[in-house]
Structure formats: C-alpha cells, structure tokens
Symmetry: C2
Subunit: 500 residues, 2 copies
C-alpha cells in the first residue's frame, strides 16, 4: 500500500508548505541542473490547459505564432543600453560548439579548437533577436502591424530559485508586436494586459490588479511596463504577467524604419508581453490549502474522479457498470473523468491523494449507494460532502463545477480585498508591511524614495493601479497628498507590497 503524503501546514511554514505541495502533488521537482526544474506530467497537464486557453485568446485578438532562435549573438544585447544592463548579469553563455575525449579517455572536455568567434547567449527574452529579424520584414506601413507571439523556453541565471516562481530556465510566451503609430502600440500593450487579467480571473480564478510600474520596476528597455499583480495567502504579492510599451527603442537599436502613406520614414513602434510558468506558482499559492491543491475546474486536468468502495469482485462489477454509464455521460458533456478502480490502494489513500492533487469533484459509490441508487459527492474547495441520487447526477456535477469556479474566485477575491490597506505615515507603513498585503501610500514619484523604502522595508511599488470599477474604492483614490517618507507632493497613492 502506498504511503500518505503529509504536507507542512500553511500556518507553520508557508514557504515549506508550497515546496512540499509542488513535489507531493507531482507538479515539478528539482533537476540535476542547478535552478532548473523538471515539470512532471501532472504539472505539465495544467500548463497545457493554460497554454491552450491563452493561445486561443491571443489568436482571437489577431495574433499569430512564430519561432525565433534560442541563441542570441552577444553583441545584440548591447544594442539597447538599458536592455543589456538588465539582462547581461544573469545569462547562460555558449562559448564552444564541440566536446572531445579527454586525455585519460574516460570522459569528455571542451574542445579548445571549437571556440566561437562571438559568444552566444541563451535568450533571457527575445526582443533583440526578433527586432534584428523584423528589420527584414518591415519596409512600408503595409507591412504593419506585425502581431507575433512565441511559445518558448528562456533562461535567466537566477541565484535563488523556487519551483515555478523563479527558475533559471522557464517556459513562457512572449508577444512581440510592431506598429506604425505610438497610439496603436500603446493600445496593444493595454489590450494584452487586459487579456492577461481576464485569463487570470476567469480561468485561474485569481483576482489581479492591473496597473503601471514605476520607472525602477520597468522592463529593461521599455517606456512603460503594465502589470497584473496577485496576492498570495501569506500577504506577499506576485507579479503574474507584464506587457511593455517599448516606444521606438528597439527599432532604433536595430534600425527598423518604415515608409508611411505619405512617403515619410519613421522608426517602428513596439510592444512585448509575456506570462510564464510562474502562473503555475500563482495558481498553486492562491487557492490551495493544508490538504493540498485546489484547482479551478477550468484548469483541472481531471475534473471528476470516481472511487468505488467494494468488498468483493461482484460488488465492484455492479458498481463499475453504474459508474461507466455516469462517466460516459459526463465525458459527453466535455467533463474530464477518471474512474479509479485500482486495487493496490485503499479508498482512504485515494481520497487523500486526489485531494492533494486538487481534483475538483469526487464521486464515491459503495454497496449501500448501489442499493439506494445514490452517490456521495465531495467538492474540493469546501470539502463538503453530500449524498445524492444517481438520477440527474451529471447535470448536478456540471453545475457544481461552474459554481466552484465562481466560488473559488469569489473566495480569493474577498481574501485579496481583505489584504488591501491604506496608510498615511511611514511608521504605520512599516508596521503594516510586516503583516503583509497591498498597502496604498503616497509617494513622491522619485526613484530615490522608492529605493529607500525598499532598502528599509523590503517593499516595492507593485503598480499605480488602473481605474477599474471592480477594484476596492481604496485603490481608486486618486487624491493628491504628501509622500509618507519625504513629505514632498504626491500625485496619488500607489500600491506597495513585499513580493515574490
């Protein structure tokens, strides 16, 4: 009999709870390569659902996929001054293209004769290689806009890593668009931020706050970075997706000009935007509990698990006959079902295991249920159980899955909103930031003050929130005031938090 996997409790050690959960729910594990993870089949199945849905949303907004090289010539990075500052310090460098047998003949060493003339780096992001390509694609306004996305792996040599949240290699999508006007590019960056926010809320059931980053927190090479910020259960923020208005920076760096309708030439306007396997971290941390994962039904690889309880083969056969009919009807409604009649695990083990894996609905059928024409239904979000007639169970489950999707979101929303506070003084700020949450405070707009606050409290400006009627009123307060640290004028409160 397999052994039950115990999780650390969130209240004991949130960070350890997360690490335990990732491993014990079979989502990912450390690999033999420092900072790189293996995404296991169950974790990858969730990522595939995320990918498929986002890809559909990108295509519905007019984007196409393409693929650009993994390796980038070292000199490309230097073309854009801020970009190289941001990425040169954490990149994997390819210097040779061959190994050879060592002198002892029992291993391989780098062949010094196979040294590259120019080193190549593994893409940390692809603006440079893509804009060097766009130079060939763009000549006239007729060639614009270009609305490309790429699903790819990228690498940033992180010193401290955590599965999904921060890994040296991660999977992501990166959109790179080219436009004839500033306005169109700005609109694109905003549109894609909205796609990210809609995806986070409607599919991941993770409420997010959309906003704009401070200059310090901007993407290296952007004129503006828009972000969606989510709140974890420990009161720390997680930046979950960003969209950048790049102005003409990369077009100038790679000399990409176009001729407009009047025959005038100008540099092309750009955006880029990305979400990554980091979303898996948000998904896990926002909803899950001490029993394991809680998955929103829309992203659950298995939506319904059915477990039989039986004393002998005859009972199992009778239960299976009933269950197979239910499973077939559920599948015909587009619901993914697993019937687990394996005989090498006790029902109690199975229950705990599927709770750990966050399967939204569990149906159990025993001998008495068979007699009574009933089933036990358990919903993972509240762990509530009820016994219901088999008749009409499929429609009940379908509605339950919809309800759960809503409930999980509403619960996360209420929780997130309870973490939003407003403070007036720096003392108050220091006190509140220790507790966690999003803290709205006045800021004088300078990088100096921002740096001082970060230094003294480990809090960063998450964003200046966009106006959204769904946000708590406190976020939408645009009254001017004075900076809590310097006393200088502040245009409006901004959102601070400690963040992952």
């Amino acid at each position: 009999m397999a052994e039950l996997k115990q999780l650390t409790k969130r209240s004991e050690n949130y960070s350890q709870w997360y690490n335990d959960l990732v491993v014990k729910a079979d989502l990912a594990e450390q690999s033999a390569v420092r900072g790189c993870m293996v995404i296991k089949p169950y974790g990858y199945a969730i990522w595939e659902k995320i990918q498929r849905q986002l890809d559909d949303m990108f295509k519905a907004t007019g984007h196409v996929n393409a693929y650009f090289p993994l390796l980038i010539p070292k000199s490309f990075l230097s073309r854009e001054a801020e970009h190289v500052e941001g990425f040169a310090k954490e990149c994997a460098v390819v210097t040779h293209y061959r190994l050879k047998t060592n002198d002892a003949g029992d291993g391989v060493v780098v062949d010094p004769a196979a040294k590259l003339e120019e080193e190549l780096i593994i893409r940390p992001t692809s603006e440079t290689i893509i804009w060097s390509t766009y130079k060939n694609w763009i000549h006239s306004y007729r060639d614009l806009p270009i609305l490309c996305n790429q699903w790819a792996n990228v690498m940033r040599w992180e010193m401290r890593t955590r599965p999904f949240l921060r890994t040296s290699e991660f999977l992501w999508q990166e959109g790179h668009t080219a436009h004839a006007t500033r306005e169109e590019a700005e609109k694109e960056a905003q549109t894609m931020l909205k796609v990210y926010a809609d995806f986070a809320e409607q599919f991941m059931a993770v409420p997010v706050i959309k906003g704009v980053k401070s200059e310090t927190e901007r993407f290296a090479g952007a004129l503006d970075t828009y972000t969606i910020e989510a709140m974890m259960q420990d009161g720390k923020a997680l930046q979950s997706g960003t969209s950048h208005f790049l102005g003409q920076n990369f077009a100038k760096a790679f000399d990409v000009q176009f001729t407009d309708k009047e025959g005038k030439t100008d540099y092309v306007w750009a955006t880029s935007w990305g979400v990554s396997t980091r979303l898996m971290g948000a998904l896990i941390m926002v909803h899950s509990d001490d029993n394991g994962l809680v998955l929103p039904p829309k992203l659950a690889p298995i939506q319904v698990v059915i477990v039989p309880i039986y004393k002998n083969e005859e009972q199992l056969a009778a239960i299976s006959e009933k269950v197979n009919g239910i499973a077939a009807r559920l599948r015909s409604m587009g619901i993914s079902v697993k019937y687990d009649d394996s005989d090498n695990k006790r029902p109690g083990f199975k229950f705990a295991d599927y709770e750990l894996r966050g399967v939204p609905v569990r149906l159990v059928m025993g001998a008495r249920d068979l007699e009574n024409g009933t089933l036990e239904v358990m919903r993972r979000d509240t762990l509530e159980k009820e016994t219901l007639p088999i008749e009409g169970i499929e429609e009940y489950v379908q509605k339950l899955l919809d309800d759960m999707q809503q409930n999980i979101f509403q619960k996360a929303l209420a929780y997130r909103n309870s973490w939003i506070k407003s403070v007036d003084t720096y003392d108050e700020f220091k006190e509140e930031i220790e507790k966690g949450g999003f803290i709205l405070a006045h800021w004088d707009g300078t990088a100096e003050t921002e740096a001082r606050i970060k230094e003294e409290t480990k809090a960063t400006i998450r964003c200046v929130p966009f106006d959204d009627p769904n946000y708590p009123a406190i976020c939408m307060d645009t009254t001017p005031g004075v900076d809590m640290v310097t006393g200088k004028p502040s245009a409006r409160r901004v959102i601070f938090a400690r963040a992952y």
Copy 2:
C-alpha cells in the same frame, strides 16, 4: 502593387527551388545565428497543425507530456559510451553564466569570474537528463510503464544546414518510455513507428516505408532503430521519423532498477522516439511544384481562399454579401477560409501568391458570376478550374478537400513507387544510384561493405523494410542472395538510397 515572386524551376535546380520556396512562401528564413532559422508565422501555422495532430495521437496511445531541462551536465553524456560518441562532436557548450561591461564601456564580454564548475551542454536529445530523472521515479513494477513525451527545442551544431532539413536548432518531440519487460519496450517502439507512419500518410499525404536501420545507422545508444523513409521528387530519401529500442543501456548508465512482482530487481527497459520540424521539409518537397507549395488540406492553415473581382465599390459590396454567406457556412463545417478583398493587390497577384502558399482551394467571384449565380473553383493540386453554381458550393468544397487529400497521397505514392528498383550487380547499382530512388540490393550485413558502398556511391542503407502488404512486391522480396559487392551471402535485399 506588390511584385510577383518567381521560383526557380525544379528541373533547373531542385535544391535552389526548395530554398526559394521556403523563403518565398514565407515558411522560414535564415537568422543572424549561424545554422538557426526563424520559422515565420505561415510556416509555424503548418507546424502547429502537425503538432496538434501528433499530440492527439500520442495521447490516444496513452502518453502524457512533461518538460525536462534544456541544459545537460557534460558528464551525463559520457555515461553511455555510444551516446557520447554520437553527440559530443556537435553540441553547444555553456561555460559561463554572466557577461560584464568591457573595459571600453561600449559592449559586454564574458565575465571570467562566472565560469561554471562543470560545463553544460544544450540538449541534442534528452535521454541522459531524462534517465537521470527516471531514477527517482522508478522503484517498483507499479511505477511502470512511464510513457512521457516532450515538445522541445534541441541543438546539434551542424556544419552544413538547410532550412527544416538540417538546422543547428530545431523543434521536435521526443518520447521517452520506461518498461518492465523487453517485449513491452520493443512493442512500444514499434507502436510509435506506426503512429508516425499513419500520421505521415494520412495527414501529410507522404507515403513512407517502415523498416529497421542497419547497425551503422542506429541512434547512438540504441539496440534497434526503426525508421520511416520518404522519397523526395529528386530521387533522394528523407528519414522522416525514428523510434528506438534502447534496451537497458540508459537504465544501466543511470542505475535505474525496479523490483518486479516477485521481488527481484532488474534494469528498466527503454524506448525513445522523435519527429521534428524536418517533417516540414518532407511536406514541402514531396508535393510542391514550380508554382509553389502544394499542401494536403488536413495540414493547410488556410484551406479555402476567396478572391473577388470587381470594377467598383458597388460590385464589391454585392459580391462580398454573397461571399460572406458562403464563408460563414464553410467555417461552420470546420473549414478554414480567408476572404481576400484587399485593394492593394491585383487579382492576378493574389492568385499567384495563394498558389505559392499552397492554399488548396481558390474560389473566385466576379460581376458575371454574380449575375449567373456561379463561382470559379480552382484546386491547387491539379490547377484545374471549373465554374459551378453557388447553390451547394459548400458541400462541393468539402468533398473536394477530401478528394484532394486522397489525390495528393495517391500521386505521391505512385511517384514514390516509380522510384523503387531492384538491382543485382554493383555496376547496375552505381548506374541506378546516379538516377536516384530507393534501390533494393543484396548486402552481406557487414559495416565494412556498407561503408565501402557509402564511400564509393554516397548511398546509405535506409532500412530493411518491414513486411507490409501495401508496399510494392519488390520491397517484400525476402529471398536470400549474394552481396552485390563482396559476393558473400545476403539474407535479403535491403533498401539503399542517397539521402538528405
């Protein structure tokens, strides 16, 4: 007005025709990084269709996806003696993890302080990193089989590259399975070869011959390599997918053992199997003609293009109204349709452009058609045109797409079969190999003879064909004979060809 893109004719220079076609049909282009290509949106859209279909077929045969690290510790390669021989000579080596500003302050250089203790190589294939992981996953027979697939990029430092056919970086899928018995692993390798063959024939419309490789041509580390071999229009073969029975080689190299039902331990049995963006090369080369791409409807990103011919806005409005109805009905049947009413290109240019891109069906509607209630229908495979009533056109197009899928396959099959010959003497062989095609000849089974034939004629053994009632009888001839070169005994004829 855009300019028509002329292709080199196949009869003039087949190789140039292929290179022209890849670029002019917007499939791919060279990147700034030697040997790496950019896959452009239209090319990538075809690859996405290939991916989606294969992924469905993998899942239908019980496989799941996962993701393993891009980078592999150098020492892992050396664990399997033949594997390192096969892959060390062509791999990209990461030696450092940071760049720093150069002394002049105008660029970046490798930071010598950031040298890795052990170099990492970019995966040329993932057996080593995956089997180092499987060691943690496999303890008992209950953990088997493991049926994992990965969609990923890989890198092999090729000296001579051609888009899709041979590039330093390419996209592929690699299945890696683990089994309790030799028989089960061998069956898996055969099953996946059949999946590849079915996909090639039913979706790509590319006829292939399944068979087993000679020892010389095996994957580095395999006990057996199975292959599907396709024939291009120039009489050269293209290995289009391979499936490997790896025996216990990697389990032994990474010490992966399991306990069976009786409590005995043994090494785990393995397979691996992969197809890559090389399939795009086969797809392009097998069907296309001097006008451009010919795509099988099942893999065409746009299956039907509709072009209006009009003198004024009023005519266009009337045509568009009709066309929109037809397009909507076609789409509701699951057919992808583009209505190209752009006014910056002449109809003649559009016709040539969509022929170049291989759109299977073209519908044209002009003012006279509007009066007569007709449409002109052109099918890309035969370039035949006919004028048909609008009434019922949707069903006609649906059937036409099915017919074309069949016709394209049958044409390729007849062509491929015309390239299969049998020879008895080495002189005859040398003469025939100059013309091209699959040549069945007796071989004594030694690597020496194989090497001599390759040296003298540039022909390699493509495979020993499997028995398949659909293959030409000549392939199925298993009569023993004598080697055409050495006169030594030969068990049966094998297939030789010059290959990409």
